[in-house]
Structures are given as structure tokens and as C-alpha cells.
């Protein structure tokens, strides 16, 4: 299962300190781990866990980019396929307890100034997860015009919710061949057109 999916900044943000990351979208799947706390505490804890993941990925992305020495090229809407091809990718291992109660594998894609991150449980099929993450990222980039200067990722977040409900329902990774994927994507496109 995928525990959560998030979109966050991996570039410096003026209002935040150096290693911090602004979370633009996050979605946690499944019931909460903590059952002994009040609902308010649970939500707070969940947000903090997500922030912790975002920070770790931010650090991983900047170290990877530093090591590879590649220069980021500014892209414009229309270059989505290129953006995906050029994206940095990697995996971060989160130890049990830090911040989730069991060990997690965090897959990430760094596209320009944003990171697309998927927190997967230990026995997950990471090949499938990687493919799904790339697919989700491509759809987000296209349907929310993320290569432009707009803020649709914040103002049209329901589109991501619908995308996830088809391609990653309740956090379940799906083995979709191109025909199944096409059917689901047509469904998503129909929603986006509204």
C-alpha cells in the first residue's frame, strides 16, 4: 500500500528556512496509526509526519542534484514529457519510528522546483510504484499546468484527488496494462473537462 502521496517544493522558499519544504498537496491513505490521541492531535501529528517526509526528500533532491552537477533548464507548458524525462529520481529509506511506526521506502521525482513523493510500505512492488508515480506526475503536470506560473495545484486540488481515486484508489497500486490505463485516464479526462 501507499501510505501517502505529496507534492512539495524542493527549491528554496523565501518565507521558510533553508531545509524546509512547502507542502502543496498531500493525501494520506487509510486509517490513522495513532488511536490513543485526540482527533486534533492526530491531524497535527499527521501533518508533521508529512512535513518531515517533505524535508527528507528536499534534502535528498538537493544532494542528488549537487552530485550530478546538472543544470536545471527552465521549461514551459508543453514540455511536460521532457520535464518527466529529465526529472531526478530516487528512493529514501525511512527507519521505523522516523516518522512512521514501521520502515518505509519513499520514492521521489524531482521536476524542476517541485517534488512528487510517494511513501510506500516495505513489501510494496517498487517497480510498479515507480511506474505509477511517473504516471501520476505526468498527469499532474498536464492537467494542472504545473510548468506555468499558475496556482492550479492549490486551487484545483480536487483534480488530484480524482486522479488518485482512479489510479491509486485508497493507496492501492494497480497492475494496469495500457488498455486498462486508457479507460481510467479517459474517465479522469472527462472529470477534468468539467
Amino acid at each position: 500500500m501507499v501510505r501517502c502521496f505529496l507534492i512539495h517544493t524542493v527549491c528554496p522558499v523565501s518565507a521558510l528556512s533553508a531545509g524546509e519544504s512547502r507542502v502543496l498537496y498531500s493525501r494520506v491513505f487509510g486509517p490513522d496509526e495513532e488511536s490513543e490521541r485526540t482527533p486534533e492531535e492526530r491531524r497535527l501529528l499527521q501533518k508533521e509526519k508529512i512535513a518531515a517526509v517533505a524535508r527528507q526528500v528536499r534534502s535528498a533532491v538537493s544532494l542528488t542534484r549537487e552530485a550530478s552537477g546538472r543544470v536545471l533548464v527552465e521549461l514551459v507548458p508543453g514540455d511536460e514529457a521532457l520535464a518527466l524525462q529529465d526529472a531526478d529520481s530516487g528512493v529514501v529509506r525511512l527507519r521505523a519510528g522516523d516518522p512512521f511506526s514501521e520502515e518505509m521506502s519513499v520514492l521521489w521525482l524531482g521536476v524542476q522546483s517541485l517534488g512528487f513523493t510517494m511513501v510506500c510500505e516495505p513489501h510494496e512492488n517498487l517497480l510498479l510504484a515507480e511506474g505509477t508515480l511517473r504516471n501520476l506526475t505526468r498527469h499532474c503536470l498536464e492537467h494542472l499546468h504545473m510548468l506555468g506560473q499558475g496556482s492550479e495545484v492549490l486551487l484545483r486540488s480536487t483534480r488530484i484527488d480524482v486522479l488518485l481515486s482512479r489510479l491509486l484508489p485508497h493507496g492501492q497500486l494497480l497492475f494496469l496494462n495500457h488498455r486498462f490505463a486508457q479507460t481510467l485516464e479517459k474517465d479522469v479526462a472527462a472529470y477534468m473537462a468539467m
Binding site: M1, P31, R43, H170, L174, R179
Partner: protein
Amino acid sequence: MYSHSSESLIQQAREIQEPELQKFYSRLVKLLQGKELGHETVDSLQRLYLILSATKYTRMLPSDLQKRLRSLLLSQSEQLQVLSAAVLRETLPLSGQEPNYNQENPAQLNSHATALLISQAVTRTDLSFFCAQLLRCLEGRPSESPAHSLLYILPVLNTILTHNPKCLTEDHVTLVSKKLVDWLRYASIVQGGGASSGRFFTGPRSRQPLPIAELDGTVSGDFFTVLCVGQGFTEDQWMNVYSFSMLRHWLLTYHSVSNGNTTVDAANRLQLSLSLSLSFSNDDRSEVDGSVVSMVSATSSSSRVLPPKERLREKAFQYCQRLIEQSNRKAHKKTDTELQKACLVEAVYILDCVCVEDASLVYRTFPSIKALFGRLSSDLLYARVLLPIAQFCLNHGELAAVDCDSMWKLVFGRFPAELFSDPFLAHELLRFLRLNLENIQLRVSQYTHFFPNLLKFLAWDSPAVVDDFVDLLPSLVTPGTTVELLHTLLDLPCLSATLVLQLRSACLPISEPGSRSLACLDAFRHSSSRGLFLFLLRGEAGSGDTIERLDDLHKLLAEAADWPRVIHCAQTVPVLLHIFFNTVVMVADETLLAHLILVMLERSSLLFNIPTYIKEIHRVFSCHLLRLCKLHPSLIMYQSHELLEFAGTTANVYTKEELYTHVVWVLGEYLSVSCDSRCSVRLITSCFEALEAVLFEITSSAPPPGATCPAPRAINALMSALAKLASRSHDLIPRVSLFLSKLRTLTRGRSVPWCSDEEDLVAIVTRGEELWSLLKTPSIAQSVLTPPPHVITPQSHRDNNVAMPLGLRTLSILAQSQRH
């Protein structure tokens, strides 16, 4: 991509004031009261979501707004469903309004409302109730519940049982097992209609149904799987996809073999399975009537007599075998090729899982796994598929009496050597090692020999995998590999640079006209120096601890010292060295530890020149030199010659101050008869003379050009060491006392060239005076300067005479405090 407008939107949402917020709430309630909910409502709801989600502190919604939103959850418009679920997820249900899980009817809920319900579930009983309802839906006839709701039931179940496997009762598990069998094995083998409208289900059949096809276009000859295609899909074909997607997790949760299985038990199971496999009757069909001869199922056992769990296991086995067979076909689309790889990984993991449960399946599985290995082992693009096969070999190879040597050569040999730059392979391979470490150490004898290869992952991308190596490094420290491992760790930054060169060399042409080529790249390719690099790139240990021309190698790589990748690597080496030394003390004997001290002394001047790297390594060496000598004081005797030589070299005071100070300290502390009976007066005297010479030299002249004054600590260490040695061989006391009194006179009121700070000078002189006065009473001097062990370790609580009054005092305090 991340614009100012986005940032300011978030800031606004976080900083919205309460009065404005309340106005917004009331406006929204009015909008929601209207008959038609148009764009303005949707935009306002979206804005509400942004306001609630932008901060980690929860905002409560007024009750009327909450009620309206809850009713929107069941709206016909998906947009409103999604929006209301998203908003409600970011706030808390009103007290007294928490959902009643016993009453919610999943058949009436859509996917978004269900997700909300699950995220708000607090107790296990809530989820159990909800599960029971869900499964009631599953049991019902398909026509009763709206068809689309069935599709998300399996993902919902899967997410619930991730946290709470006990939510499902035995009966539930049986029911789901039966359903899974139906969907996995008996899904429709004809194509669904109505593809153009994107609907999920078959419409009325207007024309002859076409059979499903394989990914390469040929007509399918066996049951439906995720690797089958059609123009449209029937409902049970969708359920086939959802079922397979959760199959592994289901098996791991409910089919795990208890540890209490005895061999007798396993033998009984083996007997049963063997006798069943002898019968070759056809599988019974469920509702769907198909008459295609299936190739996989014809060779399988009759499953009519098996209970549901075992039946599911058998069907899972067949499904995976079919997937392996289907993955051999050449798919038309690239995404399908990638899916085939993912399916192979999943299939092998599931087969591993069922074989762990039922050992008799190993014999049926191994031939196809072996064939798969044969097919894929030479193609590096399938490296990630070979890891599950390695897991299978590790778990079941012994049972099938298979020699997995070529497998290990691939996993430990070729993969790290050629695929070190693939972050996903690195993660999965290292994870595989971590999870199976004990087994690997038992079954794969050559594991530790491959450490040079494994360290390539670390050298390439240290930040990403250092955590894994913190766990794995101890297993690589064995008496046979220790010294070579230490050398390799110290040269890890050089390996990092060499890997970069190796990749660049493969990409760039031999000579690029007109461009600046790296000097180190030329050196990498040049025949006279290539051997040096090839040593670093070796895959296995055993061909030598290190190379003679290490210095040359460092010089050739000099321009790599500021490459970020190399710097990241250098930052992780001290941590790994600490782990290394902590492990070494547990596995090595004194001879080996003495050898390590020698290596530390030698390598202290032979390190790759990255700023701060050398200093950090010296600090680690100092720390562990101290520890080793404390644990085994007689190590000083083993390496007395080298230690004396090191301590007698004045230049070391200036270039390796930290390490020098510690060497001098251990000499002073442990060079005595009480630590090792082999210690002679002659040895003490020659050590004394060596240290004395250095002390004279550094306190008589300014430091050489380019060097700073020696720290007071170094000088104090020298003086203390001399005093300690003199206290053990009283003939030497006059010489020390003479020096110390001279020191006092020389420095009185004057500045000296070898100490720039006045306070430091005072500290040094004070220490000198203390030692001088101590040495006036030689008999006490020894006990004070090197107290015997029983004085240093606190034992007063163990001594009867001392402990009694302490104990009585404690008891009376306790008794008195109770009275108050």
C-alpha cells in the same frame, strides 16, 4: 513552477483572521442552501479547503456548515463529493456527530465518502463494523448494489487490513478467499463491450463477443490476467486486476506460516499435496462457462477437495505461472513492457510466499524460476527482476538442492559493478541484504569477499545509502577482511572519484578536440596509471590490502577533491569508521588489533587531500587508538617500535597534532611493566629519550614556516608522558626535573616563539610546576600519575566496610521520609 502567487495564496490562507473566516462560513452556508450549486459554490468550497489544509492546526467548522457538507458527500456530482470529502477530512467531526460505523451502508457510499469514513475511524471496532458491512455487500447479488461500488471494495479492504488484520473474522477471510479465487481464475475470457463510452461493464451484446488477447496481439489461450487486453473490459475482469493487485498483501497477512511448524507437519503437508497432484481431473467451473483449454490449469492438481485458503494458494500459484509465461511475449507498447517486469517481480514474490507456506510447491515452481533466471540473467535491464529470484533461491534453494552460485555472482558481482548508479536497484539490493543478512551469511560463503563491490553503492551515492551501510557494515567485518576493509574505507572518496571517471570514460570519446579534458580522466585511461584505478574498481577482496603507489593515485585524483559527489562520500567515512572499529574490537584478536594500529599510523599521512577530511580521520583514529589501548594495554608492546618512531618525529607535532597527542598519551600511560611484563627499562628509557628530544625541539624554536604553534595540550601531553615514564624508572627523574625548572625560568615574564597565547603559556608552565613538585617524591609520583586500576574504578559500594554506613544512611532517610 512554484510561483509567488502560490506562495502568497498559502500565506493568505494561513493568516486569515477569525472574523473574516466567520463571514466566509456564513456566505458559504447561504450558497449551499441554493438549489443549483454553480461555479461560485465550487470555487468557495475549494477556497475553504485551501484555508483548512494550509495550516497544521485544525479549524473547526460551524455545525450548520458541517451538516451541509456531510449531505454533499452523497451528491450526484463527483466534484461535490470530492470537495466535501476533502474539506471534512481537514477538520474534525462535531462531537456527538461522529460517524456510526455500524450503520453506514457501503453500498450507498461512493469511494470518496468511504475514504473519509476510514480516515476518521478511531477504534478497531469501528473498522471491524465497517468491514462487516463491506463484506455483506460483497456477498450480495451483483444486481443489488450499484455496480461501480464493488470496484473499490478490494482496495478499501486492503487498506483496512494493513493496520488491523484482526478486523476480518475467519468467516470473512474465507468469503474473501472464495471471491478472490473466482475473480483471479474464472474471470471472463471475452472482451467487454462499450469501449468508446469508457464504461466499465458489458452492455447488451450486439455482436459476437471477441476473445481477449495477449500483449503481443495473439489471441489468448488461457484464463484472464492483468497482462491480457481487450477493447473493453467486463466487471469481473476489473475485479481480476484489483484482486491481483492486492493478492500478495493478502497472502502475507492471512497465510503467514507460524514459526511453530515442525518438520513432521511439513512432511505431512508434502504427502497430501503429492497425492493430490497425481489426479488430473479438470478444475470445476463457477458461473462463467468457458471451454478454452487452459495450458497451466491442465497440469495442476484438482482443487475441488481443498479448503478455501489452500484453494486460493493453488490459484495464486497458477496465476503467477501464467504471468511468467506471458512475460515472455514481446509487448507492443513500452508501458506494457514495464508492466511485464513489475508482474514478474510480483509473481516471483507471490510464488516465494506460497512456497514458504507449502513446501511441496517448491518442486513445481523451481523449473519455471530456473528458466526465468536463465532467460534474464544476461540482461541488465531486468536486474530488478532478478532480486526476487535471489530471494526465492535463498529461501528454497536448499530444498530443491539447487546450486545458486551463478545467482550470487550476479547479485554480488555484476550488479554492484555495473549498476551502482541506479538508485532503485541500490535500494532494493541493499534492502534484500539487510532483511536476509543471517541467511546470506550462512548460505553464501563468499558474501564478505564482495565488500569492494558493495561499497561502490556507497561511494556513488553516500547520502542515499549510508543508512543501509550503518546496518550492513558490521557483517562485512571479519578477521580475514579487516585490514583490507579499513584501507578501502579510507579510500572511499577515491573510489567515488574513480566511479565518476569510469562513467565519464564510457560516455565521452577518447579525445575531444578543442575541449578541456580532465587530467584525471586522461590518467584513468593511460596504461601506466590504469592499474591503480583498476585496483580501486576491483570486485572482490583478497588481492592485496592496498597498493604501493597510493600516493601517486591521490595526486592523480587531486582535481576531484572538490567534486560534490566525492565530498558527500568523504563526509560519511568517519561515521563508518566508528562502526568499523566498534565491530572490530569484538571480532579481532590482539595481533590483528596491533596490525590495525600500524595501519592507522601509516595511513595518517596517506589520505586523500580533501579539506577537513584528513582532520576528521585523525580524530577518529585518535579516539579508537585510545579505546583499543585501554582495552588491550599490551598492544603498545606489539607496536612499540612504530609508535616510538611516530612519537619521535617532531614534524608530526605540527602536521598531525591530534593523533600525535594521543600517541604520546598512550605511550605514557601504558608503557609499563604492570601493563605488560615484556616492558623493559631499556624500552622505557628509549621512549623517554625520543619524547624528550621532541619536547626540547618544539620549546626551543618557532614552528617551521607555514605551521602554527603546537597546542598546549600537545606540550602538556609530552610533559606528562615524560613524568609518567620517569616515575617508573627513577634514574630519569633528574632529567625531567631539570627541563621543567628550566622551562619555568625561561618563560618567566617573557614571550616565547613557540607559544603565541599568554594564557596557554601560563597553563603549560603551571602544569610543568605541578609535575616538578610531584616528582620530588618519586614513590608517590607513580601512584598519582598512573593510579592502579582498583583505585580508578569506583568500588566503594562493593566494599563491605564502606558500603554499610552508606546503606544504613539511605535506609534511615527512606524510613524518615515515609513517616512524614
